[in-house]
Amino acid sequence: MTPTIEPLGDAAAIVAWRSLDESAAWQAVQNATEQLLRQQIDGVLTVVPAFKSLTVFYDCGRLTWKEVERWVAECLRNTSLASLSPQRTIEIPVCYDAEFAMDLAGVAEAHALSADEVVRLHSNANYVVQMIGFSPGFPYLAGLPSQLQTPRRTSPRFKVPVGSVAIGGAQTGIYSLETPGGWNIIGRTPVRLFDPQRDSSCLLRTGDAIRFFAIDRNQFDEFCSTNAGPA
């Protein structure tokens, strides 16, 4: 399917597959992002994949809209599925202790489940990183069991602790930095998702498969002391 190409201001373009269903659109976004990055031209700064669209950021001192539009159309003329990089699977430990899981009881109650059942459902599902966004390194994960879908909190928290694992609507995510946030917090990982000083600053990439496994408080502390901790 041919995507729409629209200007986003005078220095970016949005390429979107809005009429496709979620998974087909997402797949198209992944393929197209890879194609564009492989054939990147001078003046194109970066390509940012989102759920049903991607954004091409360019230097408007070097490229005109027409040149960007033509380049995108040419790159996407023959997109093939076979070109995708192999998927990585990354396992992330989560401590679901009440001390970290401020909203676990509330989520359980909303779905008439016990807290243990919420933890079991959450840590037994297969997730895929749909997008990195909101704040540096924050992964939006698809694959949340439908029994756990929970609307965002009516009033966001001013500060969500770094590493908080949370549910927002049909998605789950991990707060990679201490930021404000409105998702329901059900646990915390000691793994540091974003560290600007690291060579690979962001642990996850769009398209990665994610598995959570439950750890207890001692294991959490142990992990923090051997890996310098989440913050």
Binding site: E6, P7, L8, G9, D10, A11, A12, I14, A16, L45, T46, V47, V48, P49, A50, F51, K52, S53, L54, T55, F57, C60, G61, T64, W65, M131, I132, G133, F134, S135, P136, G137, F138, Y140, S176, L177, T179, F194, P196, Q197, S201, C202, T206
Partner: protein, 342 residues
């Protein structure tokens, strides 16, 4: 190696360069100097390349002391500056031209009289560590610049090694006299500042501009908005003229960029600025054109602003034209500094 010390800090002074344009796919904002041309101008005046880091001061300035004789220039918002020695004001330091500050003397930057952001460049640039390809401070994420935060009194920052051009300007000025501030009589024309009564920003349409109620669309293009005090490097809240869409759409997060005018449910638009996230989920009702982002960077809280719609072609033409004029001005500045009598 030369160092600078912050004796007293302004409201929000941060180390900035051209930002991190290539890490948006990791959710990292581009950031960098809000008013790029003023940042570049300050750098050129002391012989730096455009990507050297400057100090971006907001509304009020800092007091800064340099360990060695230092060639500086400050541009952008209109600010007065003077050197202080023994607690007494000694000499005024003029804006928009290079000035040589004697080792140990303190330069005091006052409150901005016009505009919001003033850039101080020093030959060699602020040499804080490069993090993800940039020295820019990203306040919200707490990294980059000096310790990932705004400068406070007592901070000591390294100053880099001046370029050949920087050293040449330095030696020409130091040959002039032995006062504690030495500057040439020439100066460059500063970058345009917003009209303080009513600033105008030109916009092009956004994806949801056509969904604005007809009265709201009229209002967007006629009325004057106010930059609220809830405005920072991430974005400005614009109040006084609430807008509404014909129908509300549940939007998935898509790309946004500095200049994007978002419309959150409360109807008060948000103008996204340099530190905005790379993606957002609010309707996009317009985009301030690149040529006017310098003006946007200089808007003060409380300031009135209106919008004028132009086409994408026009936006591009205006940007190219502005860059050409700016490059010509820089070339002139480079020529004039080699005149025998500065």
């Amino acid at each position: 190696m030369n160092r600078l010390q912050i004796i007293r800090a302004g409201l929000c002074s941060t180390v900035q360069d051209l930002g991190r344009a290539r890490f948006r796919h990791l959710g990292v904002p581009c950031g960098g100097a809000m008013d790029r041309m003023s940042h570049e101008l300050a750098n050129r005046l002391v012989g730096n390349s455009d990507d050297a880091a400057t100090i971006e001061m907001t509304l009020t300035g800092d007091e800064i002391q340099f360990a060695d004789d230092t060639l500086i220039a400050f541009t952008g918002a209109e600010m007065e500056a003077m050197t202080i020695s023994g607690g007494e004001v000694s000499l005024a330091v003029p804006q928009n031209r290079p000035a040589l500050i004697a080792a140990g003397s303190v330069i005091r930057f006052q409150a901005a009289r016009r505009g919001c952001r003033c850039y101080v460049a020093m030959a060699g640039g602020v040499d804080v560590p490069v993090v993800m390809g940039s020295r820019s401070t990203l306040l919200r994420a707490g990294f980059g610049g000096h310790c990932g935060r705004a400068l406070i009194a007592g901070d000591e920052l390294p100053v880099g090694v001046p370029t050949h051009a920087g050293r040449e300007i330095h030696s020409r000025l130091s040959a002039l006299s032995s006062m504690s501030v030495i500057q040439p009589r020439w100066f460059v024309r500063p970058v345009e500042l917003p009209n303080s009564n009513l600033a105008t920003l030109r916009i092009i349409a956004g994806a949801q501009t056509a969904l604005l109620k007809s009265l709201s669309l009229e209002r967007l293009l006629d009325a004057s908005f106010r930059v609220s005090s809830q405005s920072d490097r991430m974005g400005y809240r614009l109040t006084d003229q609430p807008l509404a869409l014909d129908r509300s759409e549940d939007l998935l997060s898509e790309g946004v960029v500095s200049g994007t005018l978002q419309l959150p449910p409360d109807g008060n638009p948000i103008l996204l600025m340099a530190d905005c996230a790379p993606t957002g989920g609010y309707p996009r009702i317009g985009h301030v054109i690149s040529a006017d982002m310098g003006i946007a960077a200089q808007l003060r809280p409380g300031q009135a602003v209106r919008f004028e719609m132009v086409s994408l072609d026009e936006a591009q033409r205006l940007f190219m034209q502005q860059q050409q004029t700016f490059q010509n001005a820089l070339t002139m500045a480079a020529l004039v500094r080699f005149r025998p009598c500065v």
